[in-house]
Symmetry: C2
Subunit: 235 residues, 2 copies
Amino acid sequence: MTSPIDAARRPRRDALENRAGILAAAHVALAHDPRASVDAIARQAGLSRRALYGHFDDRDALVRELVAQGAARFNAVARSIDDDDARVALARLAAALWNEAAHVQVLAAIALDEAHLDETATALAPLRRAVVRIVREGQQADALRTDVAAPTLARLVEETARTVITRIDASSPAARDLAVRSVLSIAGLSWREAAALLADHPEILAAPTAPAAAEGAPTAAEAPEAAPGTPEATE
Amino acid sequence: MTSPIDAARRPRRDALENRAGILAAAHVALAHDPRASVDAIARQAGLSRRALYGHFDDRDALVRELVAQGAARFNAVARSIDDDDARVALARLAAALWNEAAHVQVLAAIALDEAHLDETATALAPLRRAVVRIVREGQQADALRTDVAAPTLARLVEETARTVITRIDASSPAARDLAVRSVLSIAGLSWREAAALLADHPEILAAPTAPAAAEGAPTAAEAPEAAPGTPEATE
DNA sequence: GATAACTTGCACAACACTGTGCAAGTTATC
DNA sequence: GATAACTTGCACAGTGTTGTGCAAGTTATC
């Protein structure tokens, strides 16, 4: 027996599973509709609304945890890019972000919510810094377009990646291709130059590989059996 | 004296102004937040919530009228493009859409609302058809990228224009430049090719000129006191 | 098997919003 | 100046949401 004073049992296994299930459900529900109600999320997780409040203080706490999850993964992506050639770095970044499509979608949806603007901004800050750095070095090396100031071009790259990942298909294998080529295009390359670059670096568009992502925090969207409800109708 | 039977006075001038004021206010309010309350819109127009319901049956009717306004202007834009060179056509289209930035923003915001998805889709249909046509001809003439299927490329062009116009600045004069160059980039041109093209056609980036758009109907957000009768003189 | 942890269902207060009715004012138009 | 049009402010019912309290039931863990 453990100490009689702090004789707190550890959380039940099913409770932990339910908590993860709620996060997974929120992942799906909020990506589809950032104002999804607590009831809708709980129901999708196969729980009652009341039970959800046993795991999260309030709706905000739930959302904040999703943002934190995404932030961790995006930071891992940012850290994983270290190519000398800015064009290759951008291509690899786009491909890596496509791997995190589910998180990109959730974060983008949550970011629409005014209320969580600051939160998402700080969560994405490291990734943004990485893009600015890549763009800046790329311009100095004359590898990227120089008709647009670095901060603007960085923003453009970011928005392009977000747009393609969240608004186009996203499930088809061709989408990864599209995301990468779009980012290279917006960075200033002609489509033939982009094709040549990708031919020179076939590993960029190779299979998704193992997620070189963050420690802990399993991807909510990936735990399939935890999400019992609907089959994620990607339109 | 008019006929004593249908002795209906015509609407008072101030009432018409108030109606236009409401539309202008909705333009601003909804572009900022697509779920802005009726009260917020009425207040911004300097009227009471109750008065607004004297001009529009319900919130939906108001939104629908905004969509119709935007649709009319976008259709005018689509009709105004008739360049043989697809690259020039796309550049001109982007520039023209930038002129309608206020409407693009409102439509994009409303389109987020699930409820009005169909409405905005049909409102934009003619513009979409024009883009598909331009892209298709451009690919056949080998002027645009051919590594992406026409419908997808058209979508990409549309999303790029929307993204740049709604998410970047939008007020600075440089934004127009950015919108045009971004569309050309996503269409497959290198940034230098785009620059050369724009140098060859300086009129594209020339001053906004007179709105070659639909006659009558000033931009709601721009001329609150004007905008007389019906929403849009669709010829 | 005892116990604490967990879930459920219900009820409840609070809030924000929509759309309507009505009486009382104000104002453009005849 | 008479009149209809318009606006206002209030009250009201209805809806959908959030977050909490509590009693009763189920279940993993000790």
